[in-house]
């Protein structure tokens, strides 16, 4: 299974510098790269020092808008060439987006394409944020906020410059589930960015712990999440009583139907009535959800359901009200049947 990561970040935030530096690392030797540039003539691939055969450019538009099909085709082509021994037997693919890209539709394409399902595993989103221009960028460009909101890892760049600002608090409010890392001139160990197991939590429970810790952060900031005017809010839900599986399904269907694009990400562990000892991992991007994964056991003594919602201006309390009502309705139906 080839692991696929999305590397995004606003224009000039240091994506290409980071990627170029990463590819020099021996742990990145078995990595293929897809670079999406907006414009007829791509430059970034020239700046990335790696074996040419494992770098693919997509210059015909932006991945998140017009060429999602091209991305799937390119991935299938790369995987086919790998299978035939025409390129290095890579174990990881990094997709570098354009600076204005919305990573959510890219993730959705990776999560839903049946032709890719048996061959790739989505690893997550790495977002670079330039701390010199970060405040101005976040203030002016909703694309930059969304890139941070959807991230699993946020890499702060240019932190060594005297003009650097402390953006950690603002970014933690936008996305408390993402790890905040620092890379000066792209210097960071690949293991801190990739193979995070975000979509395979059994492989790396530490990420589940990060989500759970995020719940506390989201609750702490529940009173002032909009103070930057970013329009992005994180809402955490903790639920002691186990939930009926049918109620969870209905809940996700209603979220998809009514919240759609404003529901940026949902992550969490859920205790189901039908499987209380084995938590179910919920992971969604807008209306697209990964199939539930069951962990062998709870990662710690706390066995409460915990869900974190990162949304664009949605009232988080509604999620709790809705889930409570749905579970009551399903429980009532069960009682009547009994």
């Amino acid at each position: 299974m080839v692991s696929v990561s999305v590397l995004t970040g606003f224009l000039g935030s240091g994506k290409t510098t980071l990627l170029s530096r990463l590819l020099r690392h021996e742990d990145m030797a078995k990595t293929a790269v897809i670079i999406n540039e907006f414009g007829a003539v791509g430059l970034d691939h020239m700046l990335v020092e790696a074996s040419d055969e494992n770098i693919v450019q997509l210059n015909s538009g932006c991945l998140c808008c017009t060429i999602r099909g091209d991305l799937v085709f390119t991935l299938l082509d790369l995987l086919g060439r790998r299978e035939r021994g025409e390129v290095l037997a890579f174990e990881r693919i990094v997709i570098e987006t354009t600076g204005l890209a919305d990573p959510a539709p890219i993730l959705q394409a990776l999560m839903t394409d049946t032709a890719l399902a048996g061959d790739i595993q989505v690893d997550g989103v790495v977002t670079t944020v330039d701390v010199v221009n970060g405040t101005a960028t976040l203030d002016r460009y909703p694309e930059a906020i969304k890139q941070a909101a959807v991230a699993d890892r946020i890499v702060l760049t240019k932190t060594d410059l005297p003009e650097a600002e402390d953006l950690s608090e603002r970014l933690s409010v936008i996305n408390p589930t993402a790890s905040l890392l620092t890379a000066i001139n792209g210097d960071i160990a690949p293991a801190r960015l990739f193979d995070s197991g975000v979509f395979d939590p059994a492989a790396k429970p530490v990420d589940v712990q990060t989500w759970l810790a995020a719940e506390q952060h989201a609750r702490h900031h529940a009173h002032d999440v909009n103070r930057h005017g970013d329009g992005i809010t994180a809402h955490a839900m903790v639920r002691e009583r186990p939930l009926h599986a049918v109620a969870l399904t209905l809940f996700l269907e209603i979220l998809a139907e009514h919240c759609g694009p404003d529901l940026l990400r949902v992550k969490g562990l859920v205790k189901l009535v039908e499987s209380a000892d084995r938590p179910a991992v919920v992971h969604g991007v807008q209306n697209v959800f990964h199939p539930l994964i069951w962990l062998d056991r709870w990662p710690g003594e706390d066995c409460n359901s915990k869900l974190v919602f990162i949304t664009k201006d949605l009232p988080g309390q509604w999620f709790e009200d809705l889930l409570e009502a749905l579970d009551a309705e399903v429980a009532e139906a069960h009682q009547r049947q009994a």
Binding site: L250, A256, E257, P315
Partner: protein
């Protein structure tokens, strides 16, 4: 099993939150049996009927000649109210990605 007053509480919070989610201005008023949601486009009465048989939700479009619309669950009830208040955007469908081992 919740009694009807508890269902009315659920309904009130759900409808109020739904107005925010749909970005629709409106009000929700409830008595012990039902809630009425009013917007510039519609006035809708929603109740949980528990008299005989399986309980269900009833949506009454007060400015319409349509008979009360029955719904077995919250999902259908919310969808009907959403349509009645005239939310233009089509709802999106839940998509579950394929399992890697299938």
């Amino acid at each position: 099993m919740p009694d009807n007053s508890e269902w009315v509480e659920h309904l009130e919070t759900l409808l109020n939150g739904a107005l925010d989610i749909w970005r629709v201005d409106g009000t929700v008023t409830c008595n012990t049996a039902e809630c009425t949601l009013r917007t510039s486009k519609a006035s809708i009465c929603v109740a949980r009927v528990t008299d005989d048989g399986d309980p269900y939700w009833e949506v009454i479009l007060q400015d319409s000649d349509l008979p009360p619309l029955p719904f077995g669950g919250i999902q259908g009830m919310l969808r009907a109210v959403r349509e009645a208040v005239g939310v233009d955007e089509a709802g999106t469908r839940l998509v579950i990605g394929p399992r890697a081992d299938c």
